[in-house]
Symmetry: D2
Subunit: 383 residues, 4 copies
């Protein structure tokens, strides 16, 4: 059956990881991938134990990613793509190892811990001709696709205001001092990068705003704050955005906002109407045409446009969620890889966040750190 | 890897079907099953074509379910369980064929088109000792599990009132006259059973109310109505319920309610507090302790009890939906089959709707039809 | 200034009463009334004390309603209308006293404690030619007016289903045993009538459904239940309704539903669309045209029709509430009295619940009691 | 009855005005005022016509405010307080005229069109010893009072983040070019002040954040934008706030946000929990204690604290709205004036926005204009 599915490997995602399991479900959900190889942990023992637990063949469970890249590249039935789900600081070396052996990459975000690395990796990807996806997974929701298509079609008129926010509360206390694995590495600049909240979730908000509005700011001003004593990275972020066309934006991300679980929410206001979408209620998009009653576009109904329908799985009223949206990123990548395999042309509607989106996120983090370090001043985004 | 996964077959679910694809995703999501055989359509051509499309080996794609049951039973690596996703009238013959060969059954609902068949099938299942699950999938939501555990633990006190409803609008017009496949068989008494809306979604509402409240009514009174001219089955149902302990209930199901997609919603009121849950916003359960502010229990938070946590996959704020809940039914069955394989004892918390629940649903339909036919009178539910 | 305002009297509504103060605010809000006389309590001491507290002139504060009716009728500047806000059993004698002296009546609901009394009072009102309003106050909300006009204009097509509910929780325990004034008389059949919940709030739900749908059922079936031990009246009500045109309805009212404050909610489903309105969020009406996205009609926006606009006070987004809706009943009565004064013709859009609506509510209570007493059978509503 | 009510006059609020009628209802609602005099329009004809329409005695309807101040001060039964509801630029001269004659003032917001005027007026008020209220009416909502008391009692711990927003859409197009009265003066710097949106609604958001959080920022940074071509004032405002204790805030106000009617919404996040309140659903306050389920405090329930209860009128589930909150400002002022009359001590819980709050609002507008004019830089708020 291999011809129906893409042979996938994974680096990271062993015992105790959160996002690795999510990637595996996402890859499996639409039956477009077969996970056949892995280097699931930096600890080789743990890597082997984790591989066995999920049923990888023992000869394709590797003690480290370098070995894996070499061995898989040498096999006739070697992996075609690798999912990188390590802490941020490992994205670059792992990605390079696989790019060097001709294997497509699906990489978690943020792309890298410095802008320099991001630009370097971009050059490498461009040179390789390989597919490189960055899992800004929220762009996989059908109604996010619907919203993007509406803006693109001019249904809102010129966009004037973008309000995006992403509050959480899981770091309201000093969780990293308890040994909790997620908190530990995400608040460690050596593994997470100099940005904390800004890199972990601020980039998601930023990418979502870009994906839907189609606009990229040229200047931003950031206030990065650390509220929890002893924390080494920011845990609250307020950013103002200026767009080239005169539009204005505001981005708020926080990991110290009690009562907020994963409150990513986007509002886009144009001359002719406005859109509102909240990730925690992802099956409903509010559309407010100016001067008419607001209405909600329910996922799966006839009111959903072709861009939403294309990535929709089940009928209206049967809620889709986070895993489905994540799976859509995998499905879009699969469609692209499949087209490469056969030389077929690819549906131009297929889209997923790529290396350029990865770089854009890191460039925003870089600019935000610069702005905040200078006392909260306007800075230009690096090209 | 077979040892980690259960070998699954499927009957029904070929091209154009909705629920077959849902079952396949559900089986795949938690990686506990491998779909290896199928008789996907009553038309053997279509069966073969459908099997190829989803990557079944050609020698395990069968032209009919009888052949499949015999052939799979004869293989050393034959299927351990079969998913039955045909129209309702085929559930019994298919189930019997596989039960007769010692294969566990996962069957869609309603169980059968008559109470007589249901009781007959129940006897057969009881005699077989095999596992028989009925996919009342809404019982798989983590917060439904949470709610059930709260009632069971007495947190609501004695339950007084149960209000459950399940409105849809997809049959508000004469869709069955257009050739739409779902509408066609679901409004055909020969394939769907004498009940239309009552069997298709009324049974879901009824089972959910039972699952959470822990109570079963002894008397009901039903008004079955057909609003769309020419329709051969009911499309709107109002039922009053009397429970042995004096509690009262009301059930409303409709397929002609504009604006309603899949509005299954349950409210349970007890002496000490009340619960409210809506399938279209499944990640939130409203808990109103008497005399205190209502609060919402968000899926995945520390406020979710052990029964919810046990079947939870991802953190709070990352919405789970319909497919995940459906997958939980499959996961619960998998845990049970695995325990059978190894002789291990099974976690007593594992639960899924079984043959008795299947019979209860059909008994309710039977009683509702009797009540309504008699002009809307109180009837006793068959034992 | 008297010419701009109507001279109003009040019977009942003294110290400790809830609804009396509400009527006074309602009368005052639009500046169409001047409260000049009262018999505010059955206890003459308390009546005097209460009158002083609200600034009534001492010579127009009466020890009893009979004295008040006679004295006011004899004055040149006597009251033109009286508000009756006593417990239910006093409505008839007080109303008769004022009707006999030619004074218009604004009476709280339910109209009377028996159907016989209601019919008798109706005859008296008809004979008098006087204005008689019954404060089914929820019909005063602008969006309820909007909804009614939509149904009347055929925007929903033929109405098929009416779902109305009115849950509260304030009587979930035996509050009447604590001496709480409201609970005391409302659960006493001698003062409240034989119906408890059915009369107190069931009638509101019934009237609202009628007001909006324009339909009156010809048959109902009721389950009246008393959950709190020792209570002398029903505290939970489930009713099925059959309308002459084949439509079906369900009404649920409860005073033992934890978490529910005043949850009056109406849904009307027609062939072409559906409406949903909830009294606790009264500034939004959900309109779901079949096959199109649901939209919300916000009070005060251009989306509100003329019937809503006519009784609207302030712009959209500035919420109106209970007191404003109540005041609208008073304003509608004022417009009618003013027209009588001057002989002017009255705007045909002016409407308020009248003696016929009062009778209809009592007839429903009567039928519900009969149905329930007979074990929950269908009964015909008295004409 | 004069002893129960305060004699009130009004300047502005004639035909076609919106806010004048609101003030009159607010004054009337709790029956603490009697409106007896007015100079309702700058046009004396219109002033007289407007006065007659609302029933003012002809000898107390004045052609201009100077005449009114003199005449009323000379009467034994002259007004005790005056409500100023003119366009902004008239607030100072009118206020001074009445302060000079010893009459208390209730003034609409923003206080003045320049900071210099505001400081001057403050000095005058301080010297006069008179009561001066500024109708930041949103501080009158019971749940806003509840929220403030929670913060003050330390229930949130130290406040970290304040997010406040106030979007509207009524100026999304060039409404001022159509002659619409409200749009006309509010976008005219000569009458409204140099700030448009910032002064009209930004000040409301700012005052609400201050009222609830108890904190005042020492630095702000503002982006004032004008999106509608030809408009002479800002119509969109984004502000970042820095508080002396290290807390951070963001304020967004807009009059060009389609779908938004009057979306004032406040969120306050502290170390131990968070509050959320939205003016369009004012009867519910969301309280999220860290690590526990969010709950909603419903107005009128036992969950509402004493500060909320003190200004509450009707039971839970009977929604209060904008007019009631506005009336609470009037009631608080009335209680204060009454205490002055009698020399009684005043309940320390009585509170209303005063001259200092008025100045603070104008100081914020001043700072925002300075910040924005300088290209969006941090500025210190004038003391």
């Amino acid at each position: 059956m291999a011809e129906l599915r893409i042979r996938l490997g994974m680096v990271g995602g062993g015992e105790g990881a959160f996002i690795g399991a999510v990637h595996r479900i996402a890859a499996r959900l639409d039956d477009r991938y077969e996970l056949v190889a892995g280097a699931l942990s930096a600890s080789s023992d743990k890597a082997m134990r984790s591989a066995e637990a999920i049923g990888l063949a023992s000869d394709r469970s590797y003690p480290d990613f370098q070995t894996m890249a070499r061995a898989e590249a040498a096999r006739a039935d070697g992996i075609e793509a690798v999912a990188i789900v390590t802490p941020n600081h490992m994205h670059v070396p792992v990605a390079e190892a696989f790019l060097d052996t001709g294997i497509h990459v699906i990489c978690d975000k943020p792309l890298t811990t410095t802008l320099e690395q991001a630009l370097h990796l971009r050059d490498k990807v461009r040179a390789s001709g390989l597919i490189f996806a960055v899992t800004y997974n929220y762009t996989g929701y059908p109604l996010v696709r619907h919203a993007r298509a509406m803006v693109e079609a001019g249904e809102l008129g010129a966009v004037r205001i973008v309000q995006v926010e992403y509050p959480q509360d899981w770091l309201a206390g000093p969780l990293e001092t308890t040994g909790q694995k997620q908190a530990d590495w995400r608040t460690d600049p050596a593994r997470s990068g100099a940005g904390g909240c800004i890199g972990d979730i601020g980039t998601h908000a930023y990418q979502l705003a870009h994906f839907v509005s189609g606009m990229m700011p040229d200047q931003i001003l950031a206030e990065l704050t650390t509220f929890v004593p002893g924390r080494r990275v920011d845990d609250n972020v307020q950013i103002l955005l200026r767009y080239p066309n005169g539009a204005r934006g505001a981005l708020w991300a926080s990991q110290v906002a009690p009562g907020q679980n994963n409150g990513l929410r986007l509002r886009v206001f144009g001359e002719k109407g406005a859109l509102e979408w909240s990730q925690e209620e992802p099956n409903r998009l509010i559309w407010s045409p100016l001067g008419e009653p607001p209405r909600w576009i329910n996922r799966g109904t006839v009111a959903m446009n072709a861009s939403g329908q294309r990535v929709n799985r089940i009928p209206a009223g049967h809620p889709e969620g986070y895993l489905e949206a994540f799976a859509t990123i995998y499905a879009e990548v699969a469609a692209t890889i499949m087209a490469r395999r056969t030389g077929a042309s690819i549906d131009p509607a297929v889209t997923f966040p790529n290396i350029e989106d990865g770089v854009a996120g890191v460039a925003m983090v870089d600019a935000a750190l610069r702005s905040s370090a200078a006392g909260g001043v306007w800075v230009t985004l690096a090209p």
